[in-house]
């Protein structure tokens, strides 16, 4: 494995999407849990738990998409035109989620709030599901023709394995969001969220175990690299341990540490995914020689170099002020006049 610019950009795009999964993951999870409470006050607290940060979190997806476009334009073009309807649905889901957060509490009418609550929750669940289905398809492989164009159909994307990845993603984000919710709330809602978190952990563990079995049985190429390099099994082990650590910390009410374990779970899952698809970005099935790789789908070395400089300047600044902003909004949700 040579450590060229293409590899660096494979890692950077991976980091951006992992950042998205960790940050917007809990926003989407809160959204998925939103309808479980019926009380208006509690729904508002849930919304305001993510209120100041969801917008910035979504930017990780926008920037990830931009980076994919710039670094691997052929992947961007093939995937986006190939997954056309799925992406339009994702856009609709993200639009409804975004405006529902902003609009919901602006009017007192019951029907108004109920409508946007459903928009917020359905948008969040559908976004998580579709992101998972997309990842599942890339893991499973999609038909690519010799000119690098997608050669399948929309319905062909809805195979059982990608759907399983989609459901697992919903479960993961629900667990992640529930733990975040526990950290941000107090009183009665806090108690409810504790109960939901345990259920979400169980839901996620069932999904994760099923997905692991399905991957080993039906998608052997997604374990190939770990099989070749046994020391990489340490990442799989770290993944298992971080999952196991979530209920342990949660039981001891170390909610912050449970949340960090949940983050570690996402990081290790993404690392396993990236390691096993490398150097492919879109694996072609049934003709693996048509796969889009970090080399045949990349921009010129010059552009990758320029972009690396942009990333080196930009990303540390972004991380620095993002941490400051999370620090300003630390602690339990307090409602005021400006709240959603």
């Amino acid at each position: 494995m040579t450590f060229d610019l293409n590899t660096i950009w494979f890692i950077l795009v991976g980091v951006l999407f992992t950042g998205y999964a960790i940050l917007d993951g809990f926003d989407l999870g809160i959204g998925a849990l939103h309808l479980f409470t019926k009380k208006d006050e509690e729904r508002r607290i849930m919304l305001n738990a993510i209120g100041p940060v969801w917008d910035g979190n979504e930017v990780w997806l926008v920037t990830g998409g931009g980076a994919l476009f710039a670094a691997f334009p052929n992947v961007y073009a093939t995937a986006f035109s190939g997954f056309y309807l799925a992406l339009v649905l994702l856009l609709v889901a993200l639009i409804f989620r975004a405006v529902a957060i902003e609009f919901r509490s602006k009017q007192p009418m019951r029907w108004w709030r109920q409508m946007w609550d459903i928009g917020f929750s359905a948008g969040s669940i559908l976004s998580s599901l579709l992101i998972g289905v997309a990842l599942g398809n890339i893991a499973w492989g999609v038909p690519i023709d010799a000119s690098g164009e997608f050669a399948g159909t929309f319905l062909g994307l809805l195979k059982p394995y990608p759907l399983l990845v989609g459901v697992t993603t919903v479960a993961l984000f629900m667990m992640h969001g529930a733990i975040y919710g526990v950290m941000k709330t107090e009183g009665e809602l806090h108690g409810k969220l504790r109960v939901w978190t345990m259920r979400c952990i169980i839901f996620f563990v069932i999904c994760a175990v099923t997905l692991t079995m399905a991957t080993l049985l039906y998608v052997p190429h997604m374990a190939a690299r770990v099989r070749e390099h046994p020391w990489l099994f340490s990442i799989a082990l770290a993944n298992m341990l971080s999952i196991a650590n979530i209920p342990r910390e949660f039981h001891h009410e170390n909610d912050g540490r449970a949340f960090l374990s949940s983050c570690a779970t996402i990081i290790t899952l993404m690392a396993l995914f990236a390691l096993n698809i490398f150097p492919n970005l879109i694996y072609s099935l049934p003709n693996p020689e048509n796969s889009l790789t970090i080399h045949n789908a990349a921009s010129s070395p010059k552009t990758l170099g320029i972009m690396l400089i942009i990333a080196i300047i930009g990303v540390p600044i972004v991380i620095a002020y993002t941490i400051c902003i999370y620090w300003i909004f630390r602690g339990k949700v307090k409602m005021d006049r400006m709240s959603y």
Binding site: V53, D55, G56, G314, Y321, F329
Partner: protein
């Protein structure tokens, strides 16, 4: 309809709808910086009240701007995949830079701007407001860089990659500062400032007409009219330089803007008129030589007409002409309106002139229409090219996307955007009717700790 027509309608419709909001975010961003800056400077609580009120309006426009903006980023890939393969090396970098430098800054500090009023000190809050405003401007910079590269490509070479031709960067700074970028950016920013300023002016004029929140309205008008006047005057200057840049970089587009079929010296400028496409002439009021003068600073220098271009290389003339002239007409009207408003305001008699107040109420539509017309002129005038001189629009389409699929997404987006627009207008109207909060006259939380109080005791 075929894939090409549907894809063009979809891109045009989604970007036109999107473009209602970013100019408001940029313009209101400037207004918020002015208002909060004035509050910090004068300690007059009405400026604090203004900043709080307009922040709520800002939040509304920002949310829809973000939600509809992601659609644009995705559409390059979904509908224009071949274009994306061709330009990704150049164009993608600008989009990625927009994410890193603009969107993170904007959305990150937006949290403090919206929800940090009671949590941070005055200076930190003001700093956040400035950062949100700066982020909004950066996003304009990068997206105009990307679009200007499509108008006047520079800093690249054509290379065969895996058997397919594409544009690759040779000089990044030439890509960024491509020949039309600075003129177009300054023109876009002035348009955005106008959009924000005239919104403030419009709402304040309405309060004066209804004799509500008068102190608030007068203070808002003062800031609003000043920014509106400066922005609309600068708009004329940047419009002039942009048109000269079009004449230099895209002569076919300028010829279409003016309906100039024959290359002529002493070329006339049409003030108002209509293109007779069949007979290749313009009917209307014309000033001889003025176009030559505006384009080349000389009444006699010839201006390139459409006859210099093969028919298949000409943009649609009538549409380019009408959008361009519509934009210019609105631009000059806005200068007159803001100048009148400003003069009468300084004179202290604006509140007595109800006719002018009514004009000011409706002036908010001016920048919106001018911005839309301007972009339509710029993009229609670029046709038949998607990248000027390099790639034709039909060649940029996704190869595998079918018409019925695009029709489905087009119907879906149309439905959703009508819904969003209705809700936006409903909520905006609700906020305006409700008016500024009296409670906002008294800063709360950490903002209520005036740093000058301790200084007063010392002195």
């Amino acid at each position: 309809m075929d894939v090409l027509t549907l894809s063009r309608i979809q891109f045009g419709a989604t970007v036109a709808f999107h473009y209602i909001y970013p100019p408001l975010s940029i313009g209101l961003g400037i207004m918020l910086v002015c208002m909060e800056g004035l509050w910090l400077k004068t300690k007059n609580p009405v400026y604090h009240q203004m900043a709080r009120f307009w922040t709520k309006v800002f939040a509304l426009t920002f949310a829809i701007g973000v939600a509809t903006g992601i659609v644009m980023e995705f559409e390059f890939g979904t509908n224009w995949a071949t274009y994306s393969r061709f330009v990704g090396d150049v164009f993608g970098s600008a989009l990625a830079a927009e994410g890193i430098f603009a969107f993170f800054l904007e959305s990150g500090f937006l949290a403090v701007l919206l929800f940090g009023w009671d949590k941070v000190s005055r200076k930190t809050h003001f700093f956040s407001t400035c950062m949100v405003c700066l982020g909004a401007h950066f996003s304009a910079v990068w997206i105009v860089v990307a679009n200007s590269w499509m108008q006047s490509p520079a800093g690249f070479q054509k290379v065969i990659h895996n058997g397919v031709e594409r544009a690759e960067v040779t000089d990044f700074w030439q890509v960024v500062f491509n020949p039309s970028m600075v003129d177009r950016l300054s023109h876009v920013l002035c348009g955005a400032w106008s959009a924000g300023a005239f919104l403030v002016v419009s709402v304040s004029a309405w309060y004066l007409l209804k004799k509500k929140h008068q102190e608030f309205a007068r203070a808002s008008l003062k800031v609003g009219l000043a920014v509106a006047l400066v922005a609309s005057l600068l708009q004329a200057v940047t419009g002039h330089t942009s048109a000269q840049s079009v004449g230099k970089n895209q002569p076919a587009k300028l010829a279409a803007f003016e309906g100039l079929y024959q290359t002529t010296s002493n070329a006339p400028l049409t003030l108002a008129g209509w293109v007779d496409e069949k007979n290749e002439k313009v009917d209307g009021i014309q000033v001889p030589g003025l176009l030559s003068f505006l384009d080349h600073n000389d009444f006699h220098t010839p201006v390139t007409g459409l006859d210099a271009f093969a028919p298949e290389d000409r943009p649609p003339v009538q549409a380019s002409f009408l959008f361009f002239h519509g934009m210019v007409a609105i631009g000059f009207t806005l200068i007159a309106i803001s100048a009148l408003g400003f003069l009468y305001f300084r004179h202290g008699s604006l509140h007595e002139r109800r006719w002018l107040l009514w004009i000011l109420v409706f002036s908010v539509l001016g920048p919106q229409f001018a911005n839309q017309f301007g972009w339509f002129a710029a993009e229609v005038g670029r046709q038949p090219w998607i990248v000027y001189g390099l790639m034709r629009t039909p060649d940029g389409l996704s190869k595998i996307v079918e018409a019925n699929v695009v029709l489905t997404s087009l119907i879906l987006f149309t439905f959703i955007y009508f819904l969003l627009f209705a809700v936006f207008i409903y909520l905006l109207n609700d906020k305006i009717q409700h008016g500024p909060d009296d409670a906002d006259l008294i800063p709360s939380g950490k903002l209520a700790l005036p740093d000058e109080l301790t200084q007063h005791k010392k002195t």
